[in-house]
């Protein structure tokens, strides 16, 4: 059963066709990778899923419900969490608070005037957040201010913030971009563990090594058009992909 269904999506920026008749079906419980050269429209496509951009035409359906016209917070409340190309975290807050905020959002909804109880008395959410931090290996830094973390740690924190929400769909935009090798490997391990839990993921990724070790299915985007969609082995052998994306080099 497909949990995310994208049909006939077009998006122009002035004269530029950023997305051109894009179709995509993401099966529940799988990892779907989107690859393609720089400027292919991958981020634009992702932005159409989370309410940052509105497609000119076409439909985006999640869990049987149209996402078009919904605000970012409404889309998150529907079960979609997102990791950004540059980690977006609450830099002035502690790691624990960073993870508790999304936990509150999932439990209490988009707005709740919860102004009299102390955060410290919310034991079950506190334990859940601490467990999540332990999962990504940041438990001993729980009290630190998030802006002091390394880029790799920020990424892991952001993943913990998404995972604590038990999302139905997790979107990742180049999760290892700009990372040192050690951080990249850590992040890949983490993503593999997330995938094992059966969380549906859509990953935009540059690193072929990451893509082929992680993805169940791959869509290739070039100049706003999906030029191939297949199992990883099929993509490896597809001459069109090698032509457009890999410049003819062999994988």
């Amino acid at each position: 059963m497909s949990i995310l269904s994208v049909q006939n999506v077009h998006k122009r920026f002035g004269g530029l066709r950023a997305l051109n008749e894009v179709n995509l079906e993401v099966e529940a419980g799988t990892v779907h990778a989107i690859i393609g050269p720089n400027g292919a429209g991958k981020s634009t496509l992702l932005n159409c899923f989370v309410g940052r951009l509105e497609p000119d035409t076409g439909t985006v359906t999640f869990d049987g419900k149209s996402l078009l016209g919904l605000k970012p917070h409404e889309i998150n409340q529907a079960g979609v969490s997102r990791v950004f190309q540059t980690p977006e975290i609450f830099g002035d807050l502690s790691l624990l608070e960073n993870v508790m905020i999304p936990a509150f959002a999932t439990r209490d909804g988009a707005f709740k005037m919860n102004a009299w109880r102390a955060v410290d008395s919310e034991n079950s959410l506190h334990d859940k957040a601490m467990g999540m931090l332990a999962d990504v290996g940041l438990a001993e830094k729980a009290g630190e201010i998030a802006s002091h973390l390394s880029r790799g740690d920020k990424r892991r924190l952001e993943l913990a913030m998404c995972l604590v929400q038990d999302p139905k769909l997790l979107l990742l935009d180049e999760p290892t971009a700009g990372m040192a090798r050690a951080d990249t490997n850590n992040t890949i391990d983490l993503m593999k563990r997330i995938a094992k839990r059966g969380i549906t993921m859509v990953v935009i990724e540059h690193d072929m090594h990451v893509v082929f070790s992680l993805a169940d299915r791959i869509s290739v985007l070039a100049q706003g058009t999906v030029i191939a969609e297949d199992l990883p082995d099929g993509i490896k052998g597809n001459p069109k992909v090698q032509e457009a994306y890999l410049g003819g080099a062999h994988l």
Binding site: E88, F90, E97, F111, K112, A115, W116, A118
Partner: protein
């Protein structure tokens, strides 16, 4: 675990309450132990505490909060005139109307962020100020200001058989006149209550969300939270604090004028909050106290005092010194305030609270760790 207050918070609250109640004794050595000044500390402390919930937590810088102070004062004086000289209905209605006005102005202003938000609040406040002087004269009594009259209806007082006779009444709490020390203690108790509420908000999930608004709105939205109602709630709460402060100004002196809404008054609460330490629990109260204290000292100086102070100098030099000093005192006190503010912002961006914390860290660092744990965690 219903009253989930940590020990250090409870200690901080108790110390705060004790310090406020003992204010007349504690502040006597610096010449501030008299009710007129003390109640100013308390009232503007409340104003700044509320402002801090908006500015300190969410980062939204309003330049129009004096409008809510003015609304509170007008509401309180009208309550005295129409209902009763008892301060309780007056401050309740002042708080309520402060909140209502804030809901309207906040709803519109919060469509923008950053400098545009600030400008919108400033524009609204100046509009209120001008309206109070012009078309709203029937409500505000224009330039003269809204005053009590012997012939006011005061229906509740009449209903309970309270007759003030042929004199102009003053506010009283079931027979205790709200002048002098009772007036201060009434304001002081309100300050303690407001501090307690502010503390609960700081420690609550709601308070955490407000700090998240300041830190990263984008992440907050993609985390499933709607920023606007959080910011609006903070705006309304700070408007209620301002309304209460305005009401208390009228309780201790039953008169309301439009100058209370002027932009300089809005700017003053910004200075108080930043000077004390925005985003800290205690800072705004300290900032408000410091500014009102120095205002009281510097604005009281006049040329006669200066001439005397420099009388030991030769005559020519005396004239020069008097001339220079006179720029900074009396009417020129704002120049002193500006200079003080610049020094703080440059050397102590976290305000006086940062200064205290540095001194405390220095002392504990020097004389071993024992002393520090006794003091309540003052900053935040």
């Amino acid at each position: 675990m219903t009253t989930s207050m940590t020990k250090s918070d409870l200690l901080l609250l108790l110390c705060f309450a004790a310090a406020v109640l003992a204010g007349p004794v504690l502040l006597a050595p610096i010449g501030a132990g008299y009710p007129d000044l003390l109640q100013k500390f308390a009232i503007f402390g409340i104003f700044a505490l509320g402002f801090n919930i908006l500015f300190g937590l969410t980062g939204y810088l309003s330049f129009g909060h004096a409008a809510f102070l003015g609304v509170g004062s007008y509401t309180a004086v009208w309550t005295f005139k129409l209902l009763s000289m008892n301060p309780i209905p007056a401050i309740l209605l002042a708080t309520l109307l402060g909140g209502l006005f804030a809901a309207v102005i906040g709803f519109v202003s919060l469509r923008r962020t950053g400098i545009y938000f600030s400008i919108l609040t400033l524009a609204f406040a100046q509009m209120s100020y001008n309206l109070a002087y012009s078309v709203l004269t029937p409500v505000t009594n224009g330039e003269t200001g809204l005053q009590l009259a012997q012939s006011d209806p005061r229906v509740l007082d009449i209903a309970f058989g309270r007759d003030y006779g042929a004199v102009l009444p003053s506010s009283d709490l079931f027979g205790i006149s709200m002048t002098g020390y009772p007036g201060f203690y009434f304001c002081g108790v309100m300050l303690i209550l407001c501090f307690f509420v502010s503390m609960r908000i700081f420690r609550s999930p709601f308070g955490m969300m407000l700090r998240a608004v300041k830190s990263n709105q984008n992440r907050l939205n993609y985390t499933g939270l709607n920023t606007r109602p959080y910011a609006l709630a903070a705006f309304v709460i700070s408007g209620m604090y301002a309304g209460l402060a305005g009401g208390l100004l009228a309780v201790t002196d039953p008169l309301a004028g439009a100058e209370r809404m002027q932009w300089t008054a809005s700017g003053e609460v910004v200075l108080m909050t930043i000077l004390g330490g925005s985003g800290t629990l205690l800072g705004p109260v300290i900032g408000a106290g410091a500014i009102k204290y120095f205002e009281n000292i510097f604005s009281a100086f006049n040329e006669g005092v200066l001439v005397q102070a420099y009388s030991f100098l030769p005559e020519g030099l005396q004239h020069v010194m008097v001339w220079i000093s006179s720029l900074f005192v009396g009417e020129g006190w704002h120049l002193t305030l500006g200079a003080l503010f610049m020094i703080i912002v440059i050397f102590l961006p976290g305000g006086l609270m940062e200064g205290f914390n540095r001194i405390r860290a220095w002392i504990t660092g020097r004389f071993g760790g024992g002393g520090g744990s006794l003091a309540p965690a003052a900053a935040e």
